[in-house]
């Protein structure tokens, strides 16, 4: 109805004025939205014309016009789906999946097809992806650099804006920045600049670790460099440069590569971290350790992620994950699984204490006890072995030649002899120990004869017996398979069923189903099974189910995925090899702050057990341990923390313990954040640099989920004009973002690898384009000579330019881009950018009954590397076989179950939200689910006398009253409304992520004296993290898997108190 005369209600009266603005041609100059240093959102004249046309009624639908389309890559979750973004008058109006990429449309349009035709077709994308528009245009986005107001404490919410270049100066020079005394600037941190010296010291520190050099010898040799070290008495802590810490939450290839280039090579600090351990790191570590290759006497280079080929499998069993909830990720997995559900060709089982969306669709929902995934898998393995339902032929193949002779691409160490030492399986027997070969070879037994085995031998097929032993003077050894069988036979099926809280029948039925489809069955696991202190072992047990049926590489079996072209170069066809481009990389050395990838026993800090804090020799990107380590100054104190797109305080179990640490300027003397909003952690920062969202910037996130069998190289690129302020660094325009920060900081510090000749002779690194266009060129030209994509023709060039007509020069300057990519490669690069990456067509996914890109390598039944490691707190060896430990503290002491805390707390993600981003900031999504709840089974709710909507508080042994202190006078509580349901195992309480924000636009703050109101709706719901158990042995950190590093989200017992 037309009621033009009526005034709009007061709710948005003021805002409507702005709207009127938008539609009127008069205002192209003065309005804040349109003018100034912020690039115009609308290209002015075209917009005015369109508005006039629109107001007249009939109009053209512009969404299917290739000139209004930019293909890019999502980042609402890590899955990174290919997107088709529709832009009208410079405004992003709709996000769809790309029809060209098989990830978002399995039967993709041919990559080499016509763009105008592709513009008529859409791929699919999940609700999070659709709501990227809300992320992009979030009204709470910061667009200028904010600095903590002098004389106000961290977290006080008092900000002043500061010029970008002034902020960089202050960070480099230091000084009395906040009226609290001198703060050391980056120039006082980045003190080791001498490249040859860094190499020599790095080499000598390696010698100290191997005990072939003493600390005294080191000090004598490097006496002139000792002042660059954190502690000359412990040279293995590395240079003072390590006191700069780059902590990244959501970061992906492209940015993460740049993070490492800057931190490791330019700045010489070892401390750059991603957030993987609060996701599913133990899952990756389990895959990596089981698939590590044997080369030059070392196990390394394993695949850290594999998945069932859901497109062709007949039976899939999901441990603690699904296909339409989170995982990696719904648009791909759901289309594959749903197809099978529709045709009836696929049967699925989901093991999860909670009836997830995926479990709700499954043929079998098995509500196991949280964390009993490994026990269930071992039970299945036992039944499979006892009932001879394993693939012995596959397992006997001991090297590549034997595998290939069987049309297999994978083989295993099942027949390898494992030496028993001190009563435990300790390591693989070497051929020289029994006189049949070298110390680089292993041993199998065939028909009573011992044979030397090189796992990688492609010429001499050798099979080994699965049941065999060696008993001779000083040597007792048995096959890995024997030991594994013994391990899974330690318990009966009934005992396993008891541990899992399920019937024996369900284990047997799953094992029977799993072994009823040949190689077209597969076991999948992700976060639920591994975010436990024994997550690594759970993962190992599940992987071994796949190995027992030998499904790897087969259609419908386990897949490594199609992979990607080398965006960082190094293959013969790639023009830019980033690994060799850095003009003068420092040799970063020393123990990382969180002691990941480091062995306590090799360190000069070794002083018996327990260590002061745990060491983590097998994992990386150990997020939760970074800030607590700074608190203890162990292994060393830090000077500067740079937090990028992360919020460890909110998203880490017991993360609230980090608030007091971050507020303390003695522990973290300078705290810089870079993000799109003032978040729950960045609110404690000294400086916040605005960032570009994934829709305003570059990225090269690489391939797809391993369930994607085609080769993909996705590119992320600016779709609209960036909202953050455009600034100049050395006269070059760019939007403020992470890249601008690193470029400006690097230039100011005169770091190698940034600025003039930063990317090699004649290749300056002055603008983000200089980096990313080279990655695009590598993708465009391909890995092999002659493997390039076609060059864009005149028509494609025209589409490319017109589709970017709304972008300002700061992000779209064809000459600059062409220079950055290399003129010869430019037309090919445009071809790639016109499609948002490079994608193999999906008809290339299979070759007959096998995958076209199968995993080729071995699976270790017994993981030697892990068996050699020790828990740094107890001194106990880890286990080379999957163990059943249950929740433990850092020193191996078991977590007490039950008692005052009768309920087992688990967490999950709804498909429409992620851990800390998307909800409830994105209100389309919040309309679907305004807040989370305390989910309880009806039986438990009745026992507690609770009904839907009753409010309760959770408490745990380390946070009995479920409260936490923001440090600014506000106490928050872990409390929410009860929701009663049937689809949850009794005794378990489940809480979803997404909610419980106390910043991110929900909180009032003062900027330049103006009070900016937060929206209380954005703080709805609650986060369960603060009641998750603190590791009282390690202190200030949650329970952690000592092998895989995963933060324990699912090992806490809670009480529920009505309020």
């Amino acid at each position: 109805m037309k009621r033009n005369s009526r005034k709009i209600n007061s709710e948005n009266g003021k805002k409507v004025d702005r709207r009127n603005f938008l539609s009127s041609a008069a205002l192209l100059g003065g309005c804040g939205l349109l003018a100034g240093t912020v690039a115009p959102v609308f290209s002015s004249l075209a917009h005015a014309q369109r508005m006039a046309e629109l107001d007249s009624g009939e109009h053209k639908y512009l969404h299917n016009n290739p000139e209004n389309t930019i293909y890019t890559t999502c980042l609402q979750c890590h899955t990174s789906c290919s997107l088709r973004c529709k832009v009208v008058d410079g405004v992003l109006v709709k996000i769809d999946g790309s029809p060209i990429c098989p990830q978002t449309r399995v039967h993709n349009l041919p990559y080499a097809g016509d763009l105008a035709k592709a513009a008529l077709v859409e791929g699919r994308i999940c609700p999070k992806g659709q709501s990227g528009i809300e992320t992009l245009y979030d009204p709470h986005r910061i667009i200028k650099v904010l600095k903590r107001k002098s004389g106000t404490p961290r977290g006080g919410g008092q900000w002043v804006t500061v010029d970008f270049n002034v902020a960089i100066d202050e960070i480099v020079e230091g000084g009395n920045l906040f009226g609290e005394g001198h703060v050391q600037g980056m120039k006082e941190v980045c003190v080791l600049r001498d490249r040859p010296a860094s190499k020599e010291m790095a080499d000598d520190v390696a010698k100290i670790k191997k005990k072939s050099m003493t600390v005294e010898e080191f000090k004598n040799k490097h006496s002139d460099q000792l002042n660059t070290l954190i502690d000359p008495d412990h040279p293995d802590l590395g240079p003072k440069n390590n006191q700069f810490v780059f902590l990244a939450g959501r970061i992906q290839h492209g940015r993460s590569d740049l993070m490492k280039w800057f931190t490791f090579d330019s700045l010489g600090s070892v401390n750059a971290f991603e957030h993987t351990t609060i996701c599913e790191q133990s899952h990756h570590i389990a895959y990596k350790e089981v698939t590590n290759k044997w080369a030059e006497g070392k196990w390394s280079g394993g695949k850290d992620h594999m998945k069932p080929d859901f497109g062709a499998t007949r039976f899939a069993i999901f441990f603690g994950t699904g296909f339409s909830d989170a995982n990696f990720g719904p648009p791909l997995l759901s289309q594959l699984v749903a197809e099978g559900l529709g045709t009836g060709d696929l049967k699925i089982a989901v093991l999860d204490p909670r009836l997830s969306r995926s479990a709700g669709k499954a043929h079998w929902w098995i509500p196991i006890k949280p964390g009993s995934d490994g026990a269930f898998a071992q039970g299945m393995a036992r039944w499979m072995i006892d009932n001879a339902r394993i693939n012995r032929r596959f397992l006997e193949n001991a090297n590549q030649a034997a595998a290939n002779a069987d049309r297999e691409t994978a083989w295993s160490t099942a027949s390898y002899m494992v030496k028993i030492e001190g009563g435990r399986p300790a390591r693989y027997l070497r051929a020289d120990e029994v006189g049949v070969g070298s110390k680089l070879e292993f041993v199998v037994s065939r028909d009573g004869k011992l044979l030397a085995i090189d796992p990688n031998d492609k010429d001499h097929a050798i099979k080994g017996d699965l049941e065999a032993k060696v008993e001779r003077e000083g040597i007792i050894a048995r096959t890995a398979f024997d030991l594994f069988r013994d391990r899974v036979s330690e318990k009966t099926i009934a005992q396993y069923a008891e541990m899992c809280g399920v019937s024996e029948d369900s284990i047997i039925e799953m094992a029977r189903q799993f072994t009823s489809y040949g190689k077209q069955a597969a076991a999948e696991f992700y976060r639920g099974a591994v975010q436990h202190t024994d997550g690594y072992y759970n993962g190992q047990a599940i992987i071994l189910l796949n190995v027992l049926i030998g499904n790897s590489g087969w259609k419908g079996g386990l897949a490594q995925g199609g992979g990607h072209w080398h965006e960082l170069g190094g293959a013969p066809g790639n023009p830019y090899n980033f690994a060799k481009m850095h003009p003068a990389p420092l040799w970063d050395f020393g123990v990382k702050l969180n002691r990941e990838g480091a062995t306590y026993e090799e360190s000069t800090l070794f002083a018996g057990y327990p260590a002061k804090r745990p060491w983590y020799p097998f994992t990386g990107n150990l997020y939760q341990e970074v800030i607590p380590s700074a608190k203890d100054g162990y292994p060393y104190p830090i000077k500067v923390l740079f937090l990028h797109m992360g919020t460890p305080v909110l998203s880490t179990p017991a993360g609230h313990k980090q608030i007091a640490i971050l507020r303390d300027t003695k522990i973290v003397p300078l705290f810089i954040a870079c993000d799109i909003l003032v978040g729950e952690t960045s609110m404690y920062a000294d400086y916040i640099f605005p960032d570009t969202t994934y829709l305003e910037r570059w990225g090269s996130p690489g391939g797809g989920s391993p369930a994607m069998l085609a080769t993909l190289s996705k590119m992320r690129q600016p779709v609209v004009a960036p909202l953050p302020e455009t600034i100049k660094v050395d006269g070059i325009e760019m939007p403020i973002n992470m890249e601008a920060f690193l470029i400006a900081l690097g230039k100011k510090l005169n770091l190698p690898g940034i600025g003039k000749d930063g990317l090699g002779p004649g290749k300056n690194f002055d603008h983000q384009d200089d980096w990313y266009l080279k990655t695009a060129a590598n993708i465009a030209m391909g890995d092999k000579q002659g493997d390039s994509v076609p060059a864009a023709d005149a028509n494609e060039m025209d589409i490319f330019r017109k589709a970017r007509r709304h972008l300002p020069k700061a992000v779209f300057d064809e000459e600059r881009m062409k220079n950055a990519a290399g003129a010869d490669y430019w037309p090919h690069v445009v071809y790639v950018l016109n499609r948002g990456g490079r994608f193999e067509d999906s008809d290339k996914m299979y070759k007959g009954d096998t995958q076209a890109h199968p995993y080729s390598g071995l699976f270790q039944i017994f993981v030697e590397r892990v068996a050699n490691g020790r828990n740094s707190m107890s001194g106990q060896h880890f286990d080379g076989l999957p163990a059943l430990e249950g929740p433990r503290f850092a020193n191996g002491q078991p977590v007490t179950k039950g008692g005052d805390y009768p309920f087992h707390l688990i967490t999950f993600k709804e498909i429409f939200g992620t851990q800390s981003r998307t909800m409830p900031m994105n209100q389309w999504l919040t309309e679907l689910c305004p807040e989370n709840a305390v989910l309880l089974n009806r039986v438990d709710a009745e026992k507690l006398g609770l009904r839907n909507g009753d409010r309760v508080r959770l408490g745990s042994a380390t946070n009995p009253d479920g409260s936490f202190d923001l440090g600014n006078g506000e106490i928050r509580h872990v409390e929410g409304a009860v929701k009663v349901l049937e689809g949850l195992r009794p005794g378990v309480v489940a809480v979803s992520w997404h909610f419980g924000h106390w910043a991110s636009g929900s909180r009032d703050m003062t900027v330049d004296g103006s009070l900016v109101k937060g929206n209380p709706k954005r703080s709805r719901g609650f986060t369960p993290n603060p009641v998750m158990l603190e590791d009282t042995v390690a202190r200030n950190v949650c329970l952690t898997d000592p092998i895989g590093g995963s933060a324990s989200f699912n090992d806490t017992y809670v009480k529920i108190t009505p309020i």
């Binding site: 702005r18 539609s23 299917n64 035709k117 008529l120 994308i125 659709q130 529709g342 900016v1012």
Partner: protein
């Protein structure tokens, strides 16, 4: 092959108490006719023919996506006058994973304000622990053969088009909400003129040097494309104050595109097409599967079918 309208009609006969009647097929022909008097004279005949040629030469993979086939069939249907088309939707509940991409895709495509939703997905839990299951039921407008919403409209602002799509004339609608009550499926919601971002970041400094982006977000100010027109909400313009509902994305059909919910469905659970085309995928889906309609005893004869 029987005309799909006859077969569907037979299925629609499934009632609470009894099953498939003998006379069903005979009733079929009558059902094709529109019951309600047209409130507005829709254009018919040659001027409604659309020549959408782009899909004709589209190269695809050897195993073609269902959507390409549906888009080809859509183009073929659009080449007929509007009165010869009969749009239906088929939702395969076996494949719906409850992700709600359709719900949000629709919100984004049609720029729906808070409180307005065209295609919710109803989630129900069935059974008792441990024998429980989740059912997901996407619920667009059913575009009934006998729409309850149409006769109650006092100003004839809503009617059924010759192609079966039940539409609303926002300029005519007075916002009385009778139709909201009349629809047995709850397919209509009211647009109260709210905005998602109007109240955000209040107090933030404005202007060139502002530190915070501020509201409103620019996408909220853009007109929606519904019904192939431009609806500009500024100054309380339509559809503010109106009843709103799913229109099968008519504006997209005109451009050869499938409804947004169909396009974006990650489980490929939703199909759309012309039931007068007996070779079409939707006809195939309806005739080869066990399909049901919602609340058949209301005799609204929905044109949205569920494969169960």
């Amino acid at each position: 092959m029987k005309k799909v309208s006859e077969i569907m009609d037979r299925r629609e006969f499934i009632r609470a108490g009894g099953l498939v009647g003998v006379g069903a097929a005979a009733a079929g022909a009558a059902i094709l006719k529109d019951r309600g008097e047209l409130a507005s004279k829709d254009p018919t005949g040659e001027k409604t023919v659309r020549n959408l040629t782009a899909m004709k030469n589209l190269k695809t993979q050897p195993s073609e996506d269902d959507h390409i086939r549906m888009q080809r069939e859509l183009a073929a249907a659009m080449s007929k006058p509007v009165e010869k088309r009969r749009w239906i939707m088929v939702i395969d509940l076996r494949k719906c994973v409850g992700c709600q991409a359709c719900t949000i895709g629709c919100v984004a495509e049609n720029k729906l304000p808070p409180g307005v939703v065209y295609r919710p997905v109803v989630q129900t839990e069935i059974g008792e622990f441990p024998n429980v299951r989740l059912n997901f039921l996407p619920r667009p407008c059913m575009h009934c053969e006998n729409p309850s919403c149409v006769p109650v409209c006092p100003v004839k602002a809503t009617w059924k088009r010759p192609d079966g799509v039940v539409v609303i004339d926002y300029d005519r609608c007075i916002g009385c909400r009778y139709c909201l009550n009349a629809c047995p499926y709850g397919a209509r919601t009211s647009d109260f003129g709210r905005y998602y971002t109007s109240n955000e970041a209040q107090g933030a400094p404005e202007g060139k040097e502002r530190p915070i982006y501020g509201s409103p977000a620019p996408w909220e100010g853009l007109p929606s494309n519904e019904y192939g027109k431009s609806w500009n909400r500024k100054d309380h313009g339509s559809p503010v104050g109106n009843a709103r509902k799913c229109h099968f994305c008519l504006h997209r059909l005109e451009n050869g595109l499938l409804p947004m919910c169909v396009s974006t469905c990650i489980g490929r659970a939703t199909y759309f097409g012309d039931s007068n085309d007996t070779e079409s995928l939707v006809v195939e889906k309806v005739t080869r599967n066990n399909v049901q309609t919602l609340l058949p005893h209301w005799d609204n004869k929905p044109k949205c079918y569920y494969i169960v």
